[in-house]
Symmetry: C2
Subunit: 329 residues, 2 copies
DNA sequence: CTGAAAGCGCTTACAG
DNA sequence: CTGAAAGCGCTTACAG
């Protein structure tokens, strides 16, 4: 019950290892007749091949690393699942790296082993760090900041937030609070903020810095909880809460609900990501969908191109965002 | 910028490849002096080693497959994350298989390639199928049915449900509905049901089969939604809903809340899994925690033992469950 | 269309 | 404590 090798198959089929290899890899170079004999032998012997041998000889691992900061948040779980399936659909395998800390994240990108390429959902890594030690494999970035080191899929953050804010304004909401991520007292910025600000401008309204509350980690429900708790403590009035994503919206909504604030009657709440979890909240969360399938397909496509030798300039794919109106706004 | 090999390091350090290998693997067989020279050369050259070569020569991949039916449900996302980290903590890597269908699940266990072992969260595979084609790698099962093919970690399902039901009964709840998973009209069974039934027996109450509602997939919020909708449609009265897990509880609670049924005043609701998502519901979901860390540690430990040659009889580790009382019951 | 040989980067007995 | 050689299972030029 020792594993079946290429040589075993070759012997059984009465041809050389090279021919078996060609057939198994679906390459030309084997008569129809030989091909049948080989495939017969393969299934008779139960040959499944040894990736290590293939890898050593070809220099290809057929494996892609998926790097996420964590998995227990809906956005990453859903994204990782999509990536795993998309990669499998391409006949490759994946290895999941949960990069809880900066060191792990950096190592996954700059000292990748055992993979042909990397798909990174960045969390803590910056361009400055990568200037010192650049990526050692083709790498594609999914979401987040614009890096000068990676091909990149840009999520429809601007578009999504412009639509969400527009939706709130169309309802007559005028005092829109931001449940944001960042340092207390900092200025919100980035495409999500820009989308919001431009929607406000369209309506002739100015952004009120007093209505911004920050959570320490954009990716935790508890951050939304903290931020909303702090905002309520200021006593400032607002009729909507535009939250940086579903996770923070879920925490924020929990505060409102437990304080007896009616959603959406008193305060409308929106998220971003269109998670299943948000759809099951009461009231169901209005959100924007970043079109995960599109993002993932674009990321994998660009990575495969790089792996296969494309060596042109950095590329950026911009994906869209759809408004998903539910009950909370 | 071609990758640095063992031979490069050996040349740089002035010794043989074998010696470098020994040092890198932390094996005896190198004087302190040589060791320093080698480690110096390693860091000077930036040697990181090639897993393919190591794998081919040693027969070990240093990689474990984690097989889950899906990732976008909290239980699996949280479990997969714990497994990835535990495996990394053992100096191994992991590959995540999302087995959406039976064929993929079966293949992951019976035709595993490129891994030393498998940790399986079973979904559709049965012992009968495995009798035909047995696992081709050491495999440990996490949760679910008792298999005659795997070492197994048994979740504290019985204990958890006995406690949850006991908690409901202690509040004076007498008409406890089951939001269960399975075929419409079937009989609930398994350790979760047994725990519930025994708690009922302690209180001198009989299980009422009329108060069971089924969802098609135990692992979807939508199943809980369906089941509770169907149960309400029967018009039967109940003062508690013991749900098979958090996912179904979330769906069930959504129905109650949108229908104006007060939770927990009219109906108490409980889940199982102690997910973060449940903790952020309004009202926060009372649940039972299966001690994920304990389960994961036991599973990985048993798998590593098998990989390292343990060949004794099948083992079973039973883990406990803690009651987590929140607002919903 | 097919074969024989070399070689990918490592580890592992076997010597010394 | 260290070295030289063989070999893990494949693919890849090179021949024919």
């Amino acid at each position: 019950m020792t594993p079946v090798t290429l040589a075993d198959v070759a012997r059984e089929a009465g041809c050389s290892a090279k021919t078996v290899s060609n057939v198994v890899l679906g390459r030309p170079g084997a008569s129809a007749e030989t091909r049948v004999r080989v495939l017969d032998a393969v299934s008779r012997l139960g040959y499944i091949g040894d990736p290590a041998g293939r890898q050593l000889a070809s220099g290809r691992t057929g494996r892609v690393a998926i790097v996420v900061p964590r998995l227990y948040q809906p956005y990453f779980a859903e994204t990782a699942e999509r990536l795993v399936l998309e990669i499998e659909g391409r006949g490759m395998t994946s290895t999941l790296v949960v990069a809880h800390d900066l060191e792990t994240e950096l190592r996954a990108v700059t000292a990748a082993r055992d993979v042909d390429g990397v798909i990174l959902c960045p969390h803590a890594v910056t361009d400055e760090m990568l200037d010192v030690t650049p990526p050692n494999r083709p790498t594609v970035q999914l979401g987040a900041y614009a890096s000068r080191h990676f091909d990149r899929v840009v999520m429809g953050e601007y578009e999504g937030f412009r639509r969400l804010a527009g939706h709130l304004l169309a309802q007559g909401r005028r005092r829109i609070a931001l449940i944001w991520s960042g340092e207390e007292g900092s200025e919100p910025r980035g495409p999500r903020f820009d989308g919001y600000r431009d929607a406000l401008a369209d309506a002739g309204i100015r952004h009120d810095p007093e209505l911004v509350a920050f959570g320490s980690d954009w990716d935790r429900r508890a951050s939304g909880f903290e931020a909303m708790t702090a905002l309520l403590a200021t006593g400032r009035r607002f009729d909507a809460a535009l939250c940086v994503n579903d996770a923070m919206a879920i925490g924020a909504m929990r505060v409102l609900r437990t304080r007896g604030v009616r959603v959406p009657d008193d305060v409308a709440v929106t998220g971003f990501d269109d998670t299943v979890e948000g759809a099951f909240l009461v009231p169901a969360l209005t959100s924007a969908s970043p079109r995960g399938d599109e993002m993932v397909a674009a990321a994998v496509r660009m990575l495969v191109e790089r792996i296969e030798g494309y060596d042109g300039p950095l590329r950026e794919v911009q994906t869209g965002a759809d408004l998903v109106v539910r009950a909370s706004a």
